[in-house]
């Protein structure tokens, strides 16, 4: 029993201990909680104070309302801004402080807001200051719960009066401006022909910059504002309609603005007639179309650029043969008229060189399928008279809304000249680098220039691709100068390129000068004007212009006379292209050509160097042997002085001969400027034969001369003519390499073609030439010899051409070929 009790007691004690521990723990938690709350309370208090300060200081009006719309609180700024004390507002309906005519709308907004208080309301209304002035406000409204769990409305209200005022002012001035603009564009007029009464809408006067009262409603006075040049035709047009000769009175003419500028007016009128058909009134409208006219003028000037440029604009239909739908007039440079192409008479495909057509078609197809917008090609075009022209074609692909290709639009630029120069330069570069290393730098420079030109052209091509509105940009940035003057020399238009080309800083500066009265061109201007009067245009005139700094400018000019209806010239329009660079390039090429002539000559001389050594050694041998013989004679016992004297005279002769050979040789090897002198062609031939004689002996070639006596003198460069004959002799000898040695005969013949012309022929008995090669044998770098560089015949021909003659070749009827040239006989003239 006792054990039982003991057991219970122990149990109770255990329980008490357990509870006590629990109580201690709870107490600790409570302590902690109290500390936390105090800290939170401190934070909250601080926050509230801060918030209060903000509430009163911020430049926004704060209101709290109950759901009835009664004001509960207002912040300090709100009271101050509206001019009230707190007690005057608190407890009052908020609607009271709104502008009378807004009150109904305010209530509606407020009630709508309360129906769906989850969203934030925002509205603009007018409030009234205590002193009565109106304040525009923008209110942001939000529903909240207060500490008593009641719904309250918080309104944040911003003064937007100033903003409203500015907006309104802006709106008004904009409307006024538009109205004014509208008014100034068109106006009506009414002319009673019976009473002479004339009504003129103030709008029309406004077009010219006048107020209504500044111009009286009088037809006579009104017509004085018409541009003097247009007055007559305007009146005639009106008269024609009044008399019933035209269905409507329509005319575009110029009028004079108050500020001195010219405005374009489109007039449209209709006559009102009585029963007999007499016109009693004429009424209609005047519309200001100056802007349109200006746009048209810009377009016309842009067209001028296009028509004068090497770039032809095309629009082709994307069907077989590419029929032309649109083409610029300057397609005439390929010999075709725009009419021929537009009528479908000639398809574009037939213009393309047959060898290029397949490639062009293939490329067009390739690009069309690839989805690109534009592409570029170079190919050849055959002009109407059969000449070949290289063109650069930049094509834009036009697609309809379904993505189907409907048209191609493109610019085709004649780049033949560029191609030729490129080709020529290419050839020079490839083959001459080794021979004329020191010229490489110059060639590179020339090439650079060319590249720059190409870059410029590429640029203009791109610019052309752009739409009409960019034409003006083209006018200003064109690489050619464009101008328009009056016949008495006033400069009306000049693009920046021309201004810069002539060395002026601005168009205005240039326009102060007179193109006719001051010295702008190097030629006689009156003659030029006479030609222009006669032909209407002068195309491709190469001339020189004078810059502001007095320097000369090499240019190509195109000029057109613009006439009025009566055929009187009113303007000159023209383009001026600076070709100074091009000229320099040509000069470089000329220099290279001369270099080439020299190099080729020296090369040929190298081939006969053995022969030349022989030619010099002969007299030297004779001299040495003679002198040594003389010494031996003099050393003898009875010297024969007559013999010695004879020897010495022979020595002198041989010495002269040696000197002569060396002098001529030096002349042939020297690089000299071309020097025209009267020459006896027979002597020239004999001299060159003396050089090659020994070489010909070695080659077993017999030279036979048939030189006609009393041949007229030719005017030429001895060295260069000898070079030609030397080339022909060497070629002839070469052609006979496979001929039986005993048969190798070269006949050099001179003839009097007639009194004015001398013919020189070199005839061989060799293999003759293949008929196919005749087309190419005068081309540079064309050769049939394994070691030849192929310059000989090309240079020979160019030399003869410089001498105003011609060089030709033909096969002999039996064996071999004959090369012959004709040079005009000439007297020495200073050129």
């Amino acid at each position: 029993m006792e054990t039982e009790f003991q057991k219970n007691r122990n149990q109770s004690e255990e329980n008490v201990e357990e509870h006590t521990a629990e109580l201690v723990k709870i107490n600790e938690q409570l302590q902690q909680e109290i500390t936390d709350r105090k800290r939170v309370e401190a934070i909250l208090k601080e926050s509230e104070e801060r918030y209060h300060a903000l509430y009163d200081l911020i430049p926004l009006m704060y209101f709290t309302l109950d759901t009835e719309g009664t004001i509960l609180t207002v912040n300090q700024f709100g009271l101050k801004h509206l001019g009230y004390e707190a007690k005057e507002l608190i407890g009052k309906p908020v609607v009271d402080i709104f502008y009378e005519s807004d009150k109904k709308a305010v209530m509606e907004k407020f009630n709508t807001f309360l129906k769906d208080p989850t969203q934030v309301g925002k509205w603009d209304f007018r409030k009234v200051h205590k002193d009565g002035h109106i304040i525009w406000v923008q209110e942001t409204v939000r529903l909240m719960r207060d500490s008593n769990n009641r719904d309250i409305v918080l309104i944040v209200c911003e003064d937007i009066t100033e903003r409203k005022r500015i907006d309104e002012a802006l709106q008004i001035s904009k409307e006024r401006y538009e109205m004014a603009m509208q008014a100034a564009k068109v106006g009506v007029w009414d002319w009673n022909l019976q009473t002479g009464e004339f009504y003129l809408d103030p709008n029309i006067k406004a077009i010219l910059g006048y107020a209504d009262e500044e111009i009286p409603n009088d037809i006579e006075i009104w017509t004085t504002y018409v541009h003097p040049d247009d007055k007559q035709p305007v009146m005639e047009a009106a008269q024609a309609h009044i008399e019933g000769r035209t269905p409507e009175y329509i005319y575009e003419h110029r009028m004079l603005h108050k500020d001195g500028s010219v405005r374009w007016i489109f007039v449209r009128g209709k006559a009102i007639r009585d029963a007999k058909g007499n016109t009693i009134r004429l009424l209609g409208t005047d519309t200001d179309i100056t802007e349109r006219k200006q746009a048209e003028e810009a377009l016309r000037q842009a067209n001028l650029v296009v028509e004068n440029s090497p770039a032809v604009l095309f629009r082709w239909k994307a069907v077989q043969g590419w029929p032309v739908e649109l083409v610029s007039e300057n397609v005439i440079q390929f010999g075709y008229t725009s009419e021929e192409l537009l009528s479908g008479e000639i398809s574009y495909a037939s213009l393309v060189h047959p060898d290029d057509l397949e490639r062009v078609a293939h490329e067009v197809q390739k690009h069309s399928g690839s989805g690109v917008k534009h592409f570029q090609q170079e190919y050849r075009i055959i002009t109407k008279d059969g000449r070949v022209r290289w063109v650069d074609d930049r094509t834009v692909i036009e697609r309809d809304t379904n993505g189907q290709i409907t048209h191609y639009q493109g610019i085709v630029i004649n780049i033949t000249e560029r191609k030729l120069i490129e080709k020529e330069l290419q050839k020079y570069r490839e083959r001459l680098e080794e021979i004329i290393k020191e010229r490489t730098a110059e060639l590179t420079a020339a090439n650079e220039q060319l590249k720059q030109e190409i870059t410029e052209r590429t640029w203009i091509k791109k610019a052309l691709l752009e739409s009409e509105k960019q034409y003006r940009g083209l006018f200003e940035n064109a690489i050619i100068g464009i101008y328009k003057t009056t016949p008495d020399g006033k400069i009306v238009v000049a693009n920046p390129t021309l201004v810069k080309m002539l060395g002026y800083s601005s168009f205005e500066e240039l326009a102060e000068h007179n193109l006719e009265k001051e010295k702008f061109t190097f030629y006689e201007r009156s003659l030029f004007k006479e030609m222009l009067e006669q032909d209407g245009e002068i195309i491709g005139l190469e001339s020189k212009w004078i810059r502001k700094d007095g320097n000369m400018l090499n240019v190509v000019e195109n000029t057109k006379a613009i006439r009025d209806k009566n055929g009187k010239i009113i303007h000159y329009e023209g383009t001026v292209e600076d070709i100074t660079k091009q000229k320099k390039l040509e000069a470089n090429i000329q220099e290279l050509r001369e270099e080439l002539v020299h190099v080729s000559r020296v090369t040929t001389m190298g081939e006969i160097v053995a022969s030349l050594a022989h030619e010099i050694n002969q007299p030297l041998t004779a001299i040495l042997s003679n002198i040594q013989a003389a010494q031996r004679f003099l050393d003898g016992n009875t010297p024969n002085l007559d013999e010695v004297s004879e020897i010495l005279s022979d020595v002198v002769k041989d010495n002269k001969r040696a000197v002569e050979v060396i002098t001529r040789l030096r002349a042939l090897l020297k690089k000299d400027v071309i020097n025209f002198r009267p020459l006896d062609i027979n002597e020239v031939i004999k001299e060159i034969i003396s050089f090659v004689q020994s070489d010909m002996i070695r080659k077993n070639v017999a030279i036979v001369t048939e030189l006609v006596a009393n041949i007229p003198l030719i005017l030429g460069d001895r060295v260069q003519i000898q070079q030609v004959i030397l080339n022909l002799i060497m070629n002839g000898a070469e052609a006979m390499a496979d001929t039986e040695p005993a048969q190798r005969k070269l006949i050099i013949r001179t003839e009097k073609q007639d009194e004015q012309n001398v013919k020189v022929a070199v005839q061989d008995l060799g293999t003759g030439f293949n008929v196919d090669t005749i087309e190419h044998m005068f081309d540079p770098f064309y050769t049939t010899k394994p070691k030849g560089i192929g310059m000989g015949l090309w240079i020979s021909r160019s030399i003869i051409e410089v001498h105003k003659g011609f060089l030709q070749a033909e096969n002999n009827s039996d064996k071999g070929a004959t090369f012959w040239f004709v040079i005009p006989a000439g007297k020495l003239e200073k050129s």
Binding site: Q618, T621, A622, L624, S625, Q628, A629, D654, I697
Partner: protein, 205 residues
């Protein structure tokens, strides 16, 4: 001048060179004959006097080298000194291979020419000496009877009398007689001398 003064032939198409060479060689105490072309030289009837040929290599018509070949074909031995305006190595090699004495490049020194001429004339003289010796021997050979010639031909091969007798099917005594006669007719001083002479004229069996 004695009859033995050598003649120098000059062939050159260039007049002033030809004339100056004529003077120079004359001044060296030679006889000189000049020709303007190879054809002219070939037509010339040359006397039997020591000589040499100064020949320009490059001439129209028959060139110097062609003339050299032609003379070789005609079995006419004459020492040739070539002169040329330009030192063409392949040409000079060709000329020297065919027996030219010298090859002079214009212009040349008189001493070089003189040396070359002396060398050429000496060569011609010894050739002529040889030629006359051979014709003397040939005369002796021609004086032999046919049997003497047969024995002579076998003797110089080094055969013994006994062998010769057997070969010719005659008695040894007869061989001895023919041998003694041949030695006498050939003016042979010794057996060795006889063999040398046989070598020069090319005696065969």
């Amino acid at each position: 001048m004695s009859e033995l003064t050598p003649i120098i032939y000059i062939v050159d198409d260039n007049t002033s060179v030809r004339k100056s060479l004529e003077r120079l060689i004359t001044s060296m105490d030679f006889h000189v004959e000049t020709f303007t072309s190879a054809q002219e030289f070939l037509r010339f009837n040359r006397p039997d006097i020591p000589c040499c040929l100064v020949l320009d290599i490059r001439m129209p018509g028959i060139s110097g080298l062609a003339l050299q070949e032609e003379l070789a074909i005609a079995n006419y031995t004459i020492p040739i000194i070539f002169i040329t305006g330009h030192g063409d190595i392949s040409m000079s090699v060709r000329a020297m291979k065919k027996g030219a004495v010298d090859f002079l490049t214009k212009p040349f020194d008189d001493q070089d020419l003189l040396d070359a001429i002396h060398k050429a004339v000496e060569q011609d003289k010894s050739t002529r000496q040889e030629q006359s010796e051979i014709s003397e021997i040939q005369k002796s050979v021609d004086s032999l009877t046919s049997r003497e010639r047969e024995v002579f031909a076998l003797v110089v091969t080094g055969m013994l009398n006994k062998q010769i007798a057997y070969t010719l099917k005659i008695s040894e005594k007869t061989v001895k007689v023919h041998r003694a006669r041949a030695m006498q007719k050939m003016h042979a001083k010794s057996f060795a001398h006889l063999v040398r002479m046989a070598d020069k004229v090319g005696i065969e069996k």
